[in-house]
Symmetry: D2
Subunit: 347 residues, 4 copies
């Protein structure tokens, strides 16, 4: 009954099995093993285009390393104030880029309006020596608000970016949830929509510790392996990182896992929407729910053993995952219902 985050979950059985299978006999290190060697072909197939792929163990590493090859140290990275790269990585992007500046912008329902980006870039001072130079726009898909950019929305932002010679990064910590939600191909919402580099998340959706940095713009990948190494992110026993990713994208595991998480979130959201006094803060399009509840109801839920984060006095976040149980959702809603009724004197 832990709705704190999708990172409180363990590892998908298929991924655990892949780790065991990879542990058979010796293998050359640093990516020279067979699993690692075939990873790029598999991701290229998945994305319907030739891509360059680098596995790393954490989302912060994926994002920060990706950004580090997309901007000079004096560059500007446009992102939402609440984006993970700006708010939750303790300055990892600044560290890996050698001091680039993240420009925090204000979104709507967790999404960056293309017009906001355009207006900001119009005054950014490109070419003027006193100002950091526009380099990257970074989008989060699914967003920090649990919403999802449509391919058209990404395309529009990427268009603005291209007009100003910016590169487009997508933080896909919950990319699977977005793809499932959209019902589109992975290609449609990435390179076909103008994305240059994707942080393709797996950890939150069933892996132990694995993310893939996927380069659609392969020229940008040129120095990545040196930067990954000096960041301490090149595993010697790389097969155990690659095996997670291979299993993750095999047999649609990643989509199945995300579909379940999204389904549980939809159930939760539907139940919450009917509660008297409850208000969903954003459209629920992936596996995160932000809901306004009375403090009494929140307290009651905590008391009943449900775990979740409080965003504000009367707003909580609920995150579902690949292994969220339907009965836990039902139990949560039942308690919330009972105490909402009580709070309103209904019962």
């Amino acid at each position: 009954m832990n709705f704190c985050s999708d990172n409180v979950t363990g590892v998908s059985p298929a991924i655990m099995a892949a780790l065991s299978a990879a542990n058979d006999g010796p293998a050359m290190p640093y990516g020279s093993d067979p699993v690692s060697q075939r990873l790029e072909a598999k991701f290229s197939e998945l994305f319907e285009t030739s891509v360059t792929v680098f596995p790393v163990a954490t989302g912060s590493a994926a994002n920060a390393l990706a950004l580090s090859v997309m901007t000079p140290p004096f560059g500007a990275v446009y992102c939402l104030t609440e984006s993970h790269i700006n708010a939750d990585e303790c300055g990892a992007p600044e560290f890996f880029t050698g001091g680039a500046k993240l420009i925090p912008l204000t979104g709507v329902d967790g999404k960056l309006p293309a017009a906001t980006l355009a207006a900001t870039l119009a005054r950014a001072g490109a070419g003027v020596v006193h100002h950091v130079q526009p380099a990257i726009v970074s989008l989060t898909q699914a967003t920090e608000a649990g919403t999802v950019y449509s391919p058209d929305e990404v395309l529009e932002i990427a268009g603005v970016a291209q007009d100003h010679d910016l590169k487009v990064h997508m933080d896909g910590a919950r990319f699977a949830n977005a793809v499932v939600s959209l019902g589109c191909t992975p290609a449609a919402v990435t390179w076909q929509a103008g994305v240059d580099v994707l942080s393709f998340g797996a950890t939150k959706n069933g892996a132990m510790a694995a993310e893939a940095v996927v380069f659609f713009n392969r020229d940008l990948a040129e120095t990545f392996h040196y930067r990954r190494k000096r960041g301490g992110h090149l595993w010697s026993k790389m097969r155990f990182l690659s095996a997670q990713l291979e299993a993750y994208i095999a047999d649609d595991l990643w989509l199945k896992n995300a579909a379940h998480a999204n389904h549980m979130a939809a159930k939760l959201a539907a139940g919450l929407a009917e509660l008297p006094g409850a208000n969903l803060c954003f459209p629920v399009e992936a596996n995160e729910i932000f809901v306004k509840l009375s403090p009494e109801v929140i307290a009651a839920l905590h008391q009943q053993g449900f775990q979740f984060y409080r965003w504000d006095n009367d707003i909580i976040r609920l995150v579902t995952a690949f292994n969220t149980r339907e009965e836990d959702v039902a139990a949560f809603l039942a308690v919330a219902q009972r105490h909402s009724d009580l709070a309103l004197g209904v019962g």
Copy 2:
């Protein structure tokens, strides 16, 4: 029959079992899980003193993060030219320290003579604004040459370091092999000998991807967790990192694994020492052997399917591991023997 490195091995069964066990139910992320919570007590017990411990996934991360809290950006790190931090981490120490300078020194049998350090520090320009400021001496234990510092040798170096206000770092990627070789306690060759911070390796000795940064000088640890996070080295599902380390030090697994590797190396070394025309380059005190062989013998070994790295035209490195099979050692020696005899026209 792969003697390339101890990182070509897989994962010890006990550690794989611990990973499976850790995958039972949800757990709070970022180190708030029960396994991570009890790790510090276990390491404190192991080292017979209260320590602060941070798990990370790679040795480069362990070293670079450790150094980053021991030197200012304008500091000097004294180490051997061939040390991993200087030669094999693509500049990770420079990156994490914000540009500290590694001062490469010349060793004897892979070890830094205390007198060399003393002579260097006497001319280092401490307090003079034009020069980087002496901050750290870093030792590798077991060394890159397969030798081992005795506690007295460490103590002597640490004494010089303390005379010049330097901190002492130990790169223990093969720390287990050194401890087994010395037959001493882990405490005796670390904090009791003046070491401030230890990179305690596990990956090369049976873990999947796990190292512990162990602070004996706990004041130095103050900012480590922020630096680990911004380096992208804080796992969300931290329990899977901690579980490897817990299993690694449980039931003396780390010592048993290292004892086997050292034993295999001793066997190999003994056999090689008797070969006509072969010369061991350094005393074999841990699990690495550097041996001079005729190019013909080297070629024959490669042809027979043995894998190992060539250090020079007529020098090869052989590394044994926790799971090196005795029959592979015997087979290697047999081929080497046969071709050495042939080369000398003995057969």
Copy 3:
């Protein structure tokens, strides 16, 4: 007739004379010359307390080096969006601090409300590993809007800062103009109001290229000389940097120069305030004026040879300096008056 900035001016005659005087015979380098040696005593007298002082040649260097000793690389620096450190130094603070994050806040009349800082810090996540850690608040005095913080205003902000263990930095590129405007002692609006480190500007007010980083909190200065050197900001012929600063604070030159600049700004502002259709954007309290004028009037002024920067379509910035001539101010106002009348069909 150049009102673009106070940096379009040349050097005050007294400072030029000091440079010539300093050029008499040899002198030991890097600050061991007599002028540099006595600088700290003179600044201590000026500020009525013992201070540590480091001359540098540019304001960006002064600010970035000052910040670099006040925050760890994972720190947060709170400042206004339009502050020079955030908007006009091409990322120098990020570079010198090793990647600290500048948090842009919204001000009122160019000043940071203490309540805004307090509200921001209340949600900053101090002690939480995912977030950059609150380290510094930086104020600009006089502000980028041409206004001035009173000692009480500084004190209130510093109080909030101290409650959250932040250090207080003051960017005093136009500090002289602020002190003259306030009619207070330099002490009253700096250390007596809680400022830890001041970038004491001279270049904009008559020096060739000289700023002093003044530490009231002298413990913070400990590593500054190494950082200045590795930033390439330690002059070998330091006497020529120190001589500028010595002459600048001798005989109240700095205050006289600023008084003239402020007086010219007040004249301009008074004249502009009476123009039909003109609007001063902010109170004019130092030597900068932001005024809204019709585009026709702006065009006419440019056509008549007046130089100034356009902030927006109908807003211009005028900056006066130590050597702004009264007749230029009068000429500017005459042209503005004539064309404002024309624009309104008055004439």
Copy 4:
């Protein structure tokens, strides 16, 4: 009677006059003034090719900024152990390059043998992810030993560099002394010999604080102005930096100044060579002399008021400059002669 360094001197009268002349009326800042605008043409004429030029105030800034655009953060910079960039800049190159590694090599008479560079590069591990990647060779001209590379020597080193895709940097803090010594054109020993970027020194040879970073390989200059700005090295009143350089290269001032310094050094060297018990450590080819003298003679010279640095117990360094007086040289030699005779019981 100060032979400590050429930076103990003041400013050449012609340069002081140029500073005064530049102080006439307002000028646009940051290099938009007329003096700065014409500088590139003048340097292009001087070097007989189109160059890109950036003035900065210090040699450390010139070197570190130059290197920062020639190497990635994971690059290797080959230089002599005693080179200024490696030994005397407190890590400025590491700072500005984002952590590149300086590889200290051993020279002969202060010069890097091409064969040493070639042998080092043969084992550098280009393309191997574990190693920093060869990026730059940096030569000092005149050298730290007071010797001078011939155009052929530079050409040979540059040839090795090009074979390995390295860029060639020349630290020309005493470039004028080298050119005068060689009697060649500035072009012959720079771009015609394969140099990509030159730190063209002026401070040590008569300027107040001015160096020019000269790009022969102009593509490398692309991001320099942003890096200079964020390093705090862009002067607002840039005309005063440019005016020094303009005067320095006008009317052969730079060559005349260096010719005098070299001439004085030759006089000193000739006199010292004849002293009983004295030994010149290196050929005296520019304006620095390293000489072995008995400690008694050294003590006597100090006692007589001569100032110079002691390199070792019985080795001193003497540096002559553009304004070294012939009588001081004679006086120095007279005292040295007298005490050398005494020491040997000759007198």
